[in-house]
């Protein structure tokens, strides 16, 4: 995964970058499976590898395929990133270890769901019961986000009804009229 990510940083062919992003996303999904998050893997596969890639391709087709010339590492962002990373690494030192059953998260809210969801909600898939019932409001928010994005895309680049004789100005309304 690291290799993929690194290649993403360096690569300049946007098309290849999109491909690599797809692979990156697939790898993440595999990781999710390994770490028992099947539902997440499912979604990541559908979204990250599928929809995102198709969208990116669409955008590429609309814009350009090549990045500009190679750039050396830029110092300021590099510094910011290093600082942030260092802070996180510093934080990890106090973290419960990976898979540690004693970690706090396995003792508070989580186990409650595992124990009670079957009797309180029903579905054997705990994720579903948490998603749809305990935290159903989050999911409502999530749907709203999707809705927002779709309406947003409509508002941004949706075409208005075409006329018989295409008028270039009506297509890219606004922008070019302003220029003209």
């Amino acid at each position: 995964m690291a290799v993929t990510a690194f290649s993403l940083v360096r690569i300049h062919n946007l098309f290849a970058a999109v491909m690599m992003l797809g692979i990156y996303s697939l790898l993440a999904a595999v990781l999710y499976v390994v770490m028992d998050a099947v539902d997440v893997a499912f979604t990541e596969a559908a979204v990250g590898a599928g929809i995102s890639t198709v969208l990116m391709l669409g955008t590429l087709a609309l814009t350009t395929r090549m990045d500009k010339e190679a750039k050396p590492l830029v110092p300021v962002p590099l510094a910011i990133v290093t600082a942030t990373g260092a802070l996180l690494i510093y934080a990890t030192l106090d973290m419960p270890h990976y898979g540690d059953p004693g970690a706090p998260i396995h003792h508070h809210v989580g186990p409650y769901y595992i124990e009670k969801s079957a009797s309180e909600v029903g579905p054997p898939n705990i994720v579903t019961s948490v998603l749809a019932s305990y935290r159903g409001y989050d999911t409502l928010g999530e749907v709203t986000v999707v809705f927002t994005a779709a309406v947003g895309v409509m508002a941004l680049i949706g075409r208005s009804r075409r006329r018989k004789k295409p008028d270039p100005k009506s297509e890219n309304h606004g922008r070019k009229e302003q220029q003209a």
Binding site: M19, L26, V54, K164
Partner: protein, 95 residues
């Protein structure tokens, strides 16, 4: 046996990844990505059996599907530089 299969798949995934990284042509990459998708499908199903959770097959199925569509999109993109067919003049519009 499943473990051995997992290992084999992982190795081949790595090899494919190398190809995807190195290129050199677009087609190499597409093929690599395609292969990678297939291998992921395999990996997930094998892993499902490894851990006795046959539900994982669902995910594998979705992967296969998405991978298929993806490849079609990518190929079309490479071949035609876009994804779909011309619109007619009486396009009803999106909004």
């Amino acid at each position: 046996m499943f473990s051995a299969a997992t290992l084999a798949i992982l190795i081949s995934m790595f090899l494919v990844l190398v190809r995807a990284l190195k290129g050199p042509t677009v087609y190499d990459r597409i093929l690599a990505v395609n292969c990678f998708g297939t291998l992921t499908v395999l990996l997930i199903s094998v892993y499902g059996f490894l851990t006795d959770r046959p539900e994982f097959l669902d995910i594998a199925l979705v992967y296969a599907l998405i991978s298929f569509i993806n490849i079609i999109a990518v190929s079309k993109f490479v071949r035609f530089k876009d994804l779909a067919q011309p619109l007619r003049d009486d396009d009803p519009g999106d909004i």
